[in-house]
Symmetry: C2
Subunit: 99 residues, 2 copies
């Protein structure tokens, strides 16, 4: 039987799940504005979720300054990628059992 207690609540919340999925979908970091437009999320929600994920050690950010406006970019940390892969493993179990 699936151990649902292992389903990481930090990741499972719908907004954070969408962010983690996007960050995991490519190696390059994601600029804040790209995340915002892709996820159709308000600045406030996105900032709150990113802060929660950073506090959990799952997401890193770096500030890019240079020509034009400074930009913050986000990417998964190694523990974040591991936590997300563990999370996906449970999704696979749900799919196996549920279909």
């Amino acid at each position: 039987m699936i151990d649902f207690s292992k389903l990481d609540k930090t990741i499972h919340e719908k907004g954070r799940l969408s962010i983690m999925t996007l960050l995991a979908s490519r190696a390059e970091a994601w600029p804040f504005q790209d995340l915002k437009s892709e996820l159709d999320m308000s600045d406030g929600n996105l900032i709150t979720h990113l802060r929660t994920l950073s506090t959990a050690g799952y997401v890193d950010s770096i500030k890019i300054t240079g020509d034009g406006r400074p930009q913050t970019q986000y990417s998964l940390t190694a523990p974040g990628r591991k936590a997300f892969l563990d999370y996906l493993a449970i999704l696979e179990q749900i799919l196996d059992l549920g279909k």
Copy 2:
């Protein structure tokens, strides 16, 4: 890109997700006590989640009386199974994008 707005919140909540997965895992209905022991959930939580899923039209219940104590059994409705399959389809998209 995945449309996370389609991720059904009634199903996505962790407790209800575990119940829907169990109910979908076999054709036969699930007695309350079996759900409770399999999911390691309190009576109160399980009753609350089952009520939410019934209100949403996703779960049906029938009371079995006969020898011994009366027993309530739960199963997915047709709309419930459809909603769960739609939910699983989004999980598959997350897996495709996230791995």
